[in-house]
Structures are given as structure tokens and as C-alpha cells.
């Protein structure tokens, strides 16, 4: 190959005596180009680096593959660590509402119920608000407000769960107990959805704090999907003599609906897994109540609450099985939601076109 044709001897660069003082060396720089320059000889002596390139490429591939590995690893370790309860209770585990660590009887139904109720409540509150915000941001907001509002939603998304929890414990709980819940009891008490002890804790408060927490993700994804709707669609509707609101409804929302559903599902996934804030305000009782003012527990919060105190292996295994269920459900939810969102933004990473 090339290296064999040119001797590899290292030759010092031929610098004239005047060249010591850098810029004053015009003569040397321009003069005598040797047949094979020192630079050429050096470059020829470098290999083709195919080994280094191959190694580098493999290293990157392995790191990328580690993302698969992580998912598989989490799955297997959760499956293996929940063997005890899976063997003892089977599928009945998810339909039994008796959670009694002292007597070794474990049923996860109260937590599934709690997770569903709080998450649906959160969606009920968050979806209209998030859609309103997204519509406002993409279609109506004056330009100067767009930046700051988007920044605020980003900020909301970045606040840790624990801080929402802290705020909920000291501000939201008293607010619900003293002002909101009495009104609900008075006017809607007959539905039995709002009855029983008014502690301020419970499903409703959890739903409210969850709504605040999932709002940003739903809103920002909805906004992304809505901006992906081509301008021509809007103009086509406007050209038919539609009002601005009709344009938004027909031209934008209808075209973006798959993606919007995707972002709502993604928000649901978040709500399912939110732990700290809910743990701090739901009251932590393994019970099923119809009243939204009652205390309960969710899948995530029971793990947070009991895991470090779980004394026997069966209790631990039961908690891990709840975690496994949470893992599988959130993976499915996220996969569906991503596919829906990608269907609209056509798979490209959000910021790149």
C-alpha cells in the first residue's frame, strides 16, 4: 500500500534560520518546495485508521443499544423479584381489594382504583386547559407573549414532583378543605361523589395537583402537533368564509386530532407514574371509596410509602409486582402515544425539520 512506497523516515521540517521570528520568514515559506514535503510524508505515515473508526462506531452502537438493555433489564428484574406474589396470588392479585400486610394478604385493586380515579380526574381538569392554552399560543397570542408563555409551560414541566407536593401539602390541601370542598359538598353532596370526612386530602386534591403537573406536557405536545398542521389547511378553510374559530376547529383541530389524542394519552402516562406529590396528599389508605373527598392510595404512592418499611419478602414482592404492572402499563401507554404524535409530526425529532 501507499506506506510501502515512501520511506517512513521522520524528517525535521526544513526551517531557515530567519524563521525563528515567525512572520518575518517570507523567503523560507515560499522557497524550495521539496519533491515530497515533510507534511506529505507525515500524512502518508498515518494509517487509514479503519481500526479506530470501527472501534468508535461499535462503541457508539453499544451505548445506543444500552437503551434497549435498560428496558429489558428493568423488565426482567421486576419480573424475577415479584415471583413470590405472582406464584401465590396469580392474576387475582389485581382484582382483590384486600391489602393486609400484617396477615400476608395482598390485593392491588385499591391502588389500581386510586390511580385510575386520580389520573382521570387530572385529565378532566387538565385537557380543556391544555387545549385552550395550546390554541391560544398557536393561533391567537400576540407574538410578544408567545415566548414567555412557552417558557412558563417549560418551567412548569421542570418543577420537581416534590415541590408540587410541598406546595400541595401546605397550600392546596387547606384551600380544598376550607373553601373548595365545602362548596362541592353543599351543591353536589347528593351525588355521593362529594361526601364523608372533609380532610382536604384524598382523590380530588391528588387529581388537582396531578392536573397541574401534566398540563405542561399535554399543552406543549399539542402545540407541537398543531404547528405541524400545514398552513394551507388553515387558508383553505378561511377561504371558504369560515370565522377564525371555525378555522381553528375545522382546519387545525380536526387535522391534528390524532396527535392531540396522543399527547393526552402521554399525559395520562405521566399521571399514572407521578409519585411524590400524590403520596403527600392522597392520605395513603388502601381503600376504595366512591367519594372523591375520601383518602386512598395509588400504585405509585403505595410503593413510595411502604417499600422501605416492608418487612417480609411477600410484602416486598407485592410492591414490586405493582411496580411491574406500572412499568408495563406506562410502556404501552407511551408507545401508543408516541406513535400517535409521530403520525402527525411524521417522526422527525421535534426541533429539526
Amino acid at each position: 500500500m501507499t506506506e510501502t512506497r515512501i520511506p517512513k523516515t521522520q524528517v525535521e521540517f526544513q526551517a531557515g534560520p530567519e524563521s525563528e521570528n515567525g512572520a518575518g520568514s517570507e523567503a523560507t515559506a515560499a522557497n524550495v518546495p521539496p519533491a515530497i514535503s515533510e507534511v506529505r510524508r507525515f500524512l502518508l505515515s498515518r494509517g487509514n485508521s479503519s481500526l479506530a473508526d470501527g472501534g468508535f462506531r461499535w462503541l457508539m452502537v453499544i451505548c445506543a443499544l444500552s437503551i434497549f438493555a435498560i428496558v429489558v433489564l428493568i423488565g426482567t428484574v421486576l419480573v424475577r423479584s415479584s415471583e413470590l406474589t405472582r406464584a401465590k396470588f396469580g392474576f387475582k392479585f389485581f382484582f382483590d381489594q384486600m391489602w393486609d400486610p400484617v396477615n400476608g394478604n395482598f390485593g392491588a385493586l385499591p391502588f389500581i382504583y386510586g390511580t385510575l380515579v386520580t389520573s382521570l380526574l387530572a385529565l378532566l381538569i387538565a385537557v380543556p386547559l391544555a387545549l385552550g392554552l395550546a390554541i391560544f399560543l398557536t393561533e391567537m397570542s400576540p407574538k410578544f407573549l408567545r415566548g414567555p408563555l412557552a417558557f412558563i409551560t417549560e418551567l412548569l414541566a421542570a418543577i420537581p414532583s416534590i415541590i408540587y407536593g410541598l406546595w400541595a401539602v401546605f397550600v392546596l390541601v387547606p384551600l380544598m378543605r376550607d373553601h373548595v370542598n365545602p362548596i362541592l359538598i353543599r351543591f353536589f353532596g347528593w351525588t355521593t361523589l362529594f361526601s364523608g370526612d372533609n380532610l382536604g386530602l384524598g382523590f380530588l386534591t391528588s387529581g388537582v395537583i396531578l392536573a397541574v403537573m401534566i398540563l405542561p406536557i399535554i399543552s406543549s405536545l399539542t402545540r407541537e402537533v398543531m404547528t405541524a398542521v400545514p398552513h394551507s389547511q388553515r387558508e383553505a378553510v378561511l377561504a371558504l368564509g369560515a370565522t377564525r374559530w371555525e378555522m381553528i376547529r375545522v382546519g387545525v383541530l380536526r387535522n391534528a386530532r390524532i396527535g392531540i389524542v396522543g399527547s393526552i394519552i402521554l399525559g395520562l402516562g405521566r399521571a399514572f407514574g407521578e409519585t411524590m406529590a400524590v403520596t403527600m396528599v392522597i392520605g395513603n389508605t388502601p381503600e376504595i371509596h366512591k367519594s372523591l373527598l375520601a383518602t386512598g392510595n395509588t400504585m405509585a404512592s403505595v410503593i413510595a410509602n411502604e417499600f422501605s418499611e416492608a418487612a417480609d419478602d411477600l410484602h416486598l414482592s407485592a410492591l414490586i409486582e405493582i411496580g411491574l404492572a406500572l412499568f408495563i402499563v406506562t410502556i404501552i401507554i407511551n408507545a401508543i402515544a408516541r406513535l400517535l404524535v409521530w403520525a402527525v409530526t411524521s417522526g422527525a425529532p421535534a426541533r429539526v425539520n
Partner: protein, 271 residues
């Protein structure tokens, strides 16, 4: 009418944020003092004390998680943007990263408990670092990919045209050109996990005393906030607020920086 509803929704969204911030600053600032940064928590009934051990503990855990998460995350992003572009494998990895991002942090916590804590037989800062590091990987991978894709193709061609080996070109040219964006992306991932509490409960456990040993249970800021917030003592509540304020300042700084860098256009003058 419809416009009114959209505006109302906007106001309703901003309201809680303002409420949280006002309350946080009001409660936090009045409880924040030098002792908070220099002392460890005092026993119940003794007023004063601080969260110095929790701040140091968080720093140690976050350093560990960054050592794990940043290199792997960036490498994954390099694969997606430089080698895998358009391939089925890259699409699958990108998809998995997004899905992994949605896995609840509490699940990470129990997985790492079963994977690290249980076999080792004790809680440790190391286990917490593993849990948070794993959580950083998908975020960093995706931001790195996005930022690398923003580097103009002409820059890559210039490097290739000089006969620079591919690995060198990726590291010294493409990655370096995208580095402001990637660094801020890492900071965002860092800020996100800095506030994570759930995965720490059963990995690092918490510690009321000084510890810098990564093989021992260690205190962490969010964990300490949690413990103090659900306690019945006013003194501890005040410390929780102060801790929350410190945490949020860190996060707001990171988010603002990210926004500043991305809005300014990372790759200015690169075309």
C-alpha cells in the same frame, strides 16, 4: 366567546405557577440562612440546623449519575445522528428512548433496588447514582441527536474532505460544533434528575448525618425535603421550604440557560 375561553385557560395555567413561585419564595427566603448551607439537621425540638449534608449528598449522587449517564447518553445520540440515520435500528432506539423517558421514576427506583441494593445488601449513594444516571440517558441521547442534526452537513463534509478519520471528525468537529446545545441538554437532564425523589427513597435511603462514602446511605436534598415536609414540626417545614427554594433556583437557572441557548441558535454562523 371561544377566544375568551382560550384566554381563561391560559390564565388558569399561569395561576398555579405564580402561586407556587410566590409561596416558595416567600416561605423559602425567610427560612434560608447561612446555617442552611453549613449545618446538618438538628434533632427534633432543637431549632435551627440546615441541610449541608443533603446538599453535599445530592452533589455526590448527581456526580455519580452524570459519570454514568452523560457519556452513554451522548454516545447514543452520536449513533442516532451520525451512524444510524434513517435505519430501522436507529428508529427503534429513538422510540425506545422516548418510551423509557415515560417510565415512572419510582419504577426505576425499585428496579435499581432489586438490581444493586439487594445484591449488595445495603443502601448506597452509588445505587442512587445508578438510578438517576439511567434516567438521564434517554433525555441526553435525544437532545444530543437533535443538536447534532442541527450541525450543517457541509461541516461534516469539510472534515471528511481533509482525510480526517471519522471518529476524530465526529468528536472534534461535529460534536464540538454542537457542544453548546449538548451541554445545555445535559444540564436540563441534570436539573430534571436533581429534583427526583421517588427513585432515591429505596436506593440512597437518606442520612441525618455527614456521609461522603458512596457505599453508604447518604442524604439528598429532595429526599430531605420530603422527610421534613411530611413531619409534624414547624422547624422542619421551614427547612423544607428553604431546600425547595434552593432546588428550584438551580432548575430555573438550567431551564433559562437552555432556552437562551436554543433560541439564540446554537449553530449561528455555521452555514
Amino acid at each position: 366567546m371561544a377566544s375568551g375561553l382560550a384566554i381563561l385557560a391560559t390564565i388558569l395555567v399561569i395561576l398555579p405557577l405564580v402561586a407556587i413561585f410566590v409561596y416558595l419564595i416567600y416561605m423559602g427566603a425567610s427560612s434560608l440562612n447561612l446555617a442552611f448551607f453549613t449545618q446538618i439537621p438538628k434533632p427534633v425540638g432543637v431549632s435551627g440546623g440546615g441541610m449541608a449534608n443533603a446538599i453535599v449528598g445530592s452533589a455526590i449522587i448527581l456526580a455519580l449519575s452524570s459519570i454514568l449517564g452523560v457519556p452513554i447518553g451522548i454516545s447514543g445520540g452520536i449513533f442516532l445522528a451520525e451512524f444510524g440515520r434513517g435505519t430501522k435500528l436507529a428508529n427503534a432506539i429513538r422510540f425506545t428512548a422516548d418510551v423509557l423517558n415515560g417510565v415512572p421514576s419510582i419504577v426505576m427506583g425499585i428496579a435499581v433496588y432489586a438490581l444493586v441494593v439487594k445484591p449488595q445488601g445495603h443502601f448506597s449513594a452509588f445505587a442512587g447514582g445508578v438510578a438517576l444516571g439511567i434516567m438521564m440517558i434517554p433525555t441526553i441521547t435525544r437532545t444530543t441527536e437533535e443538536m447534532l442534526l442541527m450541525v450543517p452537513h457541509a461541516i461534516r463534509e469539510a472534515a471528511l474532505g481533509l482525510g480526517v478519520p471519522n471518529w476524530r471528525s465526529v468528536l472534534s468537529i461535529t460534536l464540538k460544533t454542537a457542544s453548546p446545545g449538548i451541554i445545555t441538554g445535559c444540564m436540563l437532564a441534570f436539573a430534571r434528575v436533581a429534583g427526583e425523589t421517588a427513585p432515591l427513597i429505596f436506593t440512597v435511603l437518606g442520612n441525618s448525618f455527614w456521609s461522603t462514602n458512596i457505599n453508604q446511605p447518604i442524604a439528598a436534598l429532595p429526599l430531605q425535603i420530603y422527610v421534613f415536609a411530611i413531619s409534624p414540626y414547624d422547624d422542619w417545614h421551614r427547612l423544607a421550604w428553604a431546600g425547595a427554594l434552593v432546588l428550584i433556583i438551580l432548575i430555573v437557572l438550567a431551564v433559562s440557560l437552555v432556552r437562551y441557548v436554543t433560541s439564540r441558535g446554537v449553530m449561528k454562523g455555521a452555514s
